[in-house]
Structure formats: C-alpha cells, structure tokens
Subunit: 492 residues, 2 copies
C-alpha cells in the first residue's frame, strides 16, 4: 500500500527527494540540473504566484517582460554583478544547426552560424533591464518605475537539488528605479515585508528578517535584506531577498534623470526576488514521514473526498450527498477533489493524499450516510473524527484555518527551540554539530573572520537581524570586540 | 499635442510599429530580434492569458513546466520536427564565462567550460516533453495526459517584427497524450474551437477555421488545424494552431502503453499553441490612425476618467463624484483609471488614451457636475455624448458590451468584404495586387503547384476551411481538376 518514502531519521536528504518525486511535485529531467515541475507542483506554484502577484500589484507594481538573453557586453557592464555570476552562465554562441553529413539523420552546430557577440542566458536581469531603463528615464516625472517580471532564469550550478538549487528555475524579479536613495531603501524594506508576510501567513513558515553581511550580499548590491527560514534538520534556507542597489546599475548603464531643479543625477535602484526554491522550503519545513503537509491557504487541493461503498446503489447515494457538500465547499471558496475512481481502494487513496499533503480528507460510507456523519481526517495531526453532516462546510472552513495556524505554530515552536546562543568557539561548533539550528553569536565584523568560520564550521552568517539589540561581547572566533550578536547556521 | 503616428495609408508597416511602440505595448531591446514587453502590453497579455488559462482548465488541462533546454540528441529524435526547426535554433555550447586577461574588466567564454552535448533553447517543446512522457506513461490508466505550459520559446528569425515575429516570444503550448487516434483528433479539434472562441469573443476578431496543406503543416504533425484572421491590409495572420501529431513523437521517444487487454501500442499525441503574436493581430485588425482600439473584454484599462477643473475646490468636488463612480464601476467588475495627474492638460490625456486604445473615456468638469452629467467618449467610433450621472455605471457596462460587439462586427464586415473568388490566374493575381484579402480558388492538391503559386504570387494557402463544400473546378495555376476551393492570401 502506498509508496515507500525514507524517514527523516534514516536519510533526511532522501526523504526530501522522495517527497518531491513521489508527492508528484517535480522530477528530474533529461537536462542536467533542470527539473520538470509536474502538474501538482505547478498548481502549488500558481497559487503562490497568484498571492504574490496580488501583493505586488497592491503595492503599485506592474509586470513586464524583458529578453531571456543578455549580450555579453551588457552583462559585463556592472563589474561586481558580472563577476558574481560569470562562473554560472549558460552561453549561446550559435544560432543554427545543420545536418551532420557524417551521421545521417543527426544534426550538428553550424560553424558558420556563430554569433558575433555571445548571449548569456539571464541568471538575473539587472543588466538587460537597466540597459532598457536608460531609454525609459529622462526626468523625475518618469520615476519611480515599479516593475516586476515573472520569468525563468539559468544558473549553472555544479550540485543541484530539486527546487532548492536547479540550473533553471522560475522566479519573479522586481526591478525598481527611484529619484532618491531614501525612496529606494523604503522600497527595499517594503518588499522584504511583503515576502515575510507571504511566507509567514500563506506558507505558514516563520522567518527572521535581517540584513546580509558584505560576504553574503548580492553581487552588485549595496545592501541585501533577507528572510531566513529554518528547516527540520536545523539548517537555514534563505527564502527571499530584497536588494538596495544604490546607483551601481545606473552608473554602469549611464541612467540619469533631471530633477525638479533640472539637475542631473544617477537613478537609485532596488531588486528583489523569490523563486521556486520556496517550494523546497515548504516541503522541508512542514512535512513528516508520511509525506507532504501543505498549508491550506496555498494547497492545490484543500479537501479530498473518498467514497467507501459496495455496489452502484450505495455509490449513487453517496454521490448525491457528496455533490451537495462539494457545492457548499465551493461556495466558500474551498478547493475540493472527489476521488471516486474505481481502480484503487480507499486505503490506497488515503495514503496517496497523505503523501500529497492534502490538508483535509473526508471519507464517507453507506453507514455514515445513515448516521448523517462523515469521517474527517486532518493531515497535520492525522487526527480523525466523525462529524455531523449538518454544517459540515463551515466546520471544514474553520478546520482549514486551524490547520494553517497549527502548521505555523509548530514550525515556530521548532524554530524557536533551535535558536541557541554560543559564547565560545567550542560551544558554537558543538551546537552546530549536535543540536543544529541557528546560533546567535558575537562576530568581530570582519570578512576574514567570517570566511574562516565558514571554512572551519561550515556555517555562514545568515543575517544580522533587523532591530538587533546592541550588546558588547567578544567574537567567538577571533576574540576581538563585537557590538552585537549575529545569526549563524549551516544552510541550504 | 500627442505623439505622431504614421497613417495606414502612408505607411501601414510604420503605422503598426508606431502603435506598438508609442502605444506603450512593447519596444525593441538590446538583443537582436527580442522585444521588451512593457507594462501596458504585458497587462494586455495577462488578460489574454488568464482567459485562455481558464478555458484550458475548464476543458480538463493542467499546467506544468518543462526545461528551457533540449539536449541535441533529444531534439533530433523526431526527424521532421528537428529538420523543421534546425535552422532557427539558439544553441548553448558553454556554461561559464571567465575574465578576459587581454581586456581588463571584460569577460570571455571559458573554452574549458564547453558542454559535451550542446543544448538547444526550445523553439517548441515536443521533444523534451515526449522524452519525459516516456516516464509518465505505462498503462492506459495513465492516459490521457492533458498538460499545458506557459513559457518563452526562441526561434532565430532573420526578419523580426514586434509581436508578429520575434526571436523570443511568450506562448502556451498544450501537449496531450491519448490511448486512441480518435480521442487525439477530438482533442485537436476541441482546442481549435477553444482558440476560435477566444479570438472571436474576447479579441473581437473573426477567424476562419481550417486545416493546413502538407506544405504548411507543423513539422512533425500529421495534421495542422488553424484559425486564420484578416488584417486591415488584407493580409492573413495565423492566429493559432492545433496539431494532431499521430504517433510520431511516441515512436521517436518510444512511448508505449499497455491497453486493457495488455497489448502494447504507441501513444497518440496533440500539441497546440498561441503566442504573443496574437497581440500583433489585435493591433493590426482593429486600430485606426489615432491609435490602438482594444476590445473591452481584454483591455487593461476599460474606462479612463479625466477631470477638467480650475483650482482645488473644483478638483475636490470632482474627486468626490469620481470616487463614487469608480466604486460603482469596480463593483461591476470594470477596470477604471482616474488620471488626475497635474503635469499634462486634458487634451494631451485625451490623445494619449486614444493612442492606448482605452475603450471608454469619461471627462468631467465643474459645469458637468452642476448639470449632473459626464461626457462619455467611445474609442471605437470616437462619438462623444453627455450622459446623466444617474445610472452611469450601468450605462458604461452596456456601452462596453456594445463596443466589444461593434469592433467584432466591423472586423467581420471588413473580412467578409475581402474574401473574393478567382477562377483564373490573372484574376487571382489581380485580386491579390489590388483588393488584397483572401482569395477562394481551386487548387489541384499538389505541393508543386502550391510552391509555384507561392513563388509567383507570394500567396500561400492559408487553409482548407472546415466544412468546405465540394465543388468541381480547375486549378487556377495548373488547370488540373480540383474538388474544392481553398483560401489563399499573402500572410504575416
């Protein structure tokens, strides 16, 4: 019955892969490092995208679309950005294939169709977008530009994992242009709040908002704000970033505007993005050894109904009742699937929908009908209950809200349980090796120390939390004076 | 006042470009043949996409996502398909850039990062998808697969035009798998109907449904169904295609299923797509010399309101009324923009929104308020009318419907006026050269004749209309016997 999945304790990494693949979210593809997002996984992404898209529009942004390709000369214009991404760029060098005369029926790259200038497949779009903004911006009247793009990007990663790190992934990237530094910083922080709100209140995943150190900053940014989430193995996962880009891209692409006094200045920029990586975070943070646990607010199927019957007559009676329930649920905006396929037994279906993380399952049989009840099983706690059919729709609506809250609370309790303080190096390493989680520790503020810690403890500074209290102390590594603790963790 | 655009009579092609660029739909980019879809154009695409997506889901399809890249060995597996697209493939050959030591600050393709197997940037996804379906399909229970993908594709075109023919474009591609030939054909035809319904009833553009000749068929298809629309210069534009692929891709990728009797057979396939090209069709079919004319059902802004006032007091009074109107319109699901920006005069705004094709414009001044009226201008006919503010919301709702219908009727009348019959070669050429439009003429059914006609008259067979009446006649070119007329036209 059901499909075998590894347990978290046996093999956490295999457990994750099993959930993604057997839970029908995604699969490996014939292309190295690229995945196929299957319909169930894509439906989840659509739900996430729709919520985010609404939030972007509510904060005044519009969508647009820029080219997939970036000519090399544009790509290299902002040097830090180019340097940061150069090692992971897929490069188009030719624009035609031709018959390979030595191998009938096969094709070869046509050497005569070599591009004069190579095209980089976008790993991120600052370069192509800022080269465009140059044409859009002359005066302060053209600002702000508040644009977002939903797109695929390619980063040639050496080690890939479904959703968490794939060569191609889907994301959104906001790219805004402003007349003042202050306005750009407000935008950067606003979008961080949008992300935090989405991840906490839709994905049911608590996050810590913070700012990255120089080492961990986006290539080309002045400041990178981030939200960091904790997975069940105690590792950190960066769930979204919002960058204050200063005037770096405006200078690289010579984008100036004249202000009200007709004075020319470079434009201020932000960029911000989240990706299909969030699905990886969702899977790792909430699921259990029986499968996925999806938060009701973004689950592709919120309720599944499984009939239990013998013979057509019972089936017809159940159908009638179920159709009434479905109608009621749909009126409440609840997504419901009636699985009355006759090629699998109820037990198999139960396991299947548990694996797929459907928040609520209803099972209804002939005797239930007589007693005017239905069996309601919730995925998060696996509790089952017999519930009266009268008012079942409202019961389920409330239950979905309760499940959403419970999943969040559970993740929050786990997260808070796994934030430790360390005051010495030994303590620091011991926590990472045994308890895992985030470690709050003093750091002397130098990149060298940060590098050393990364090398020795495999932990990075995830962020300097926003509103971090100042506190005098000594760096756990160098012993040099420090003014605040920062959050370290091993990370995805 | 306003922006200069060419007239259709002066320069039809320039007129089109002016509308696209000055109407803020799209612009050229720094990448050869690729465009930037600007926020206004993208909002239009989003509206089109959302309607289509709903129709796909209502007919049982789910979205998924497959890799951007196709390894060359997979790409060449279905030979006809590969041959058809080989000449327009962007090819990734390397996966890394490095510093160019001869040019400080510049990058070069790292010769050590050459791929063992080149990757084709998808021009269409049959190959990558059918190589995946092989893993998804074992038994008839796994069928049908009804999947759609929204994606970007790349075809290296030598001559490009905004929306109509760009190197990269956005589209959807449905890829379905079936147990029987009959079911696949039903699917192919169903999706043609979905496209026709969308283009006629949302885009207000009449189409002729038909089937392509062998010459014009999709590379790798057994049959290509299409919808053909007519532009204002009489040229045809293929607005959507739906392909019955037979077992060609199943054979190329060895995708078999066992039926109920446990017999193995190859799977039957369809694919179907429409793209951002539809936006080009929309622009060319409906617009006039003052700008775009967008059908209300997909217009990003359905109603624009422009205040006409002197001083803050008048403005405040108008604002109050306008906010009430906006609220009423939004309740009716109408998208409205209030343009009370103070850096342009009303006349400039009028011209701007005419250029952008906003279906209805309201202008409201102090005197209008006193008289409890508003000036309503419709974009399609440019008629203006003073309308009572009482019940203005319902008036506008009805007006939007009337405009939608009127735009359709106008395009239909033009189209029907421009379908001619020709019985001789001279007549045929003369119609194409003078009146333009579609020419219904006899053809002997041979590819050679079709090629010759294309060469000599620059016209192609757009389609053999569905339900075409049989009629004996003689081929206009060869004089050989023919059993039916087909539709010829010069085409985009």
């Amino acid at each position: 019955m059901g499909k075998e999945i590894a347990t978290r304790e046996q093999d956490y990494s295999q457990w994750y892969n099993d959930l993604v693949i057997k839970g029908q979210l995604a699969d490996y593809s014939a292309v190295r490092g690229c995945m196929v997002i299957k319909p169930y996984g894509y439906a989840l992404w659509e739900n996430m995208r729709d919520v985010l898209d609404r939030k972007f529009k509510d904060t005044g942004h519009q969508n647009a679309y820029f080219p997939l390709f970036v000519p090399k000369s544009l790509f290299e214009a902002e040097e830090k950005n180019a340097e940061g991404f150069a090692k992971e760029c897929a490069v188009v060098t030719h624009y035609r294939l031709k018959s390979d005369e030595s191998r009938p029926g096969k094709l070869m790259v046509d050497p005569e169709a070599k591009l004069e200038e190579e095209l980089v497949v976008r790993p991120t779009s600052e370069a192509i977008i800022w080269s465009t903004y140059k044409d859009w911006i002359q005066s302060y009247r053209d600002l702000p530009i508040l644009v977002n793009q939903w797109a695929n990007v390619v980063r040639w990663e050496m080690r890939t994992r479904l959703f968490l790190r794939t060569t191609e992934f889907l994301w959104q990237e906001g790219h805004t242009a402003h007349a003042t530094k202050e306005e750009a910083i407000v935008e950067t922080k606003q979008m961080l709040e949008v992300y935090a709100d989405f991840v906490e209140n839709w994905m049911a995943l608590p996050v810590i908002k913070g700012i990255k150190t120089a080492n961990e900053r986006f290539a080309g940014a002045e400041d990178t704000y981030c939200i960091e989430a904790m997975m069940q193995d105690g590792k950190a996962l960066q769930a979204g970033t919002s960058h204050f880009l200063g005037q770096n891209f405006a200078k690289a692409f010579d984008v100036k505007f004249s202000d009200k006094e007709n004075k020319l200045d470079y434009v201020w920029a932000t960029s911000w993005g989240v990706s299909t990586r969030l699905i990886g975070a969702l899977v790792m943070a909430h699921s259990d050894d029986d499968g996925l646990i999806l938060p009701p607010k973004i689950a592709p199927i919120q309720v599944v109904i499984v009939p239990i019957y013998k013979g057509d007559e019972q089936k017809a009676q159940i159908d009638e009742k179920v159709h009434a329930i479905i109608k009621g649920l749909k009126t409440l905006g609840i997504t419901v699937k009636y699985d009355d396929s006759d090629n699998q037994r109820p037990g198999w279906k139960f396991a299947e929908y548990e694996l797929k993380g459907v928040p609520v399952r209803l099972a209804i049989g002939a005797r239930d009908l007589q007693n005017n009840v239905v069996e309601v099983a919730r995925r998060d706690t696996k509790e089952k209950q017999s519930v009266s059919l009268d008012g079942i729709e409202d019961y389920i609506k409330n239950l979905l809200e309760e499940i959403q809250q419970n999943i969040y609370n559970r993740a929050l309790a786990f997260r808070d349980d796994h934030i430790s303080s360390a005051d010495t190096w030994d303590e620091f390493v011991q926590i990472l090796d045994t308890k895992a989680g985030f470690v709050s520790a003093h750091w002397d503020g130098s990149s060298e120390t940060e590098d050393k810690i990364k090398e020795l403890a495999k932990a990075t500074i995830r962020c300097i939390p926003l509103d971090n209290p100042l506190e005098e102390g000594k760096c756990i590594f160098s012993g040099n004076p420090s003014t605040q603790r920062v959050l370290f963790a091993r990370a995805y």
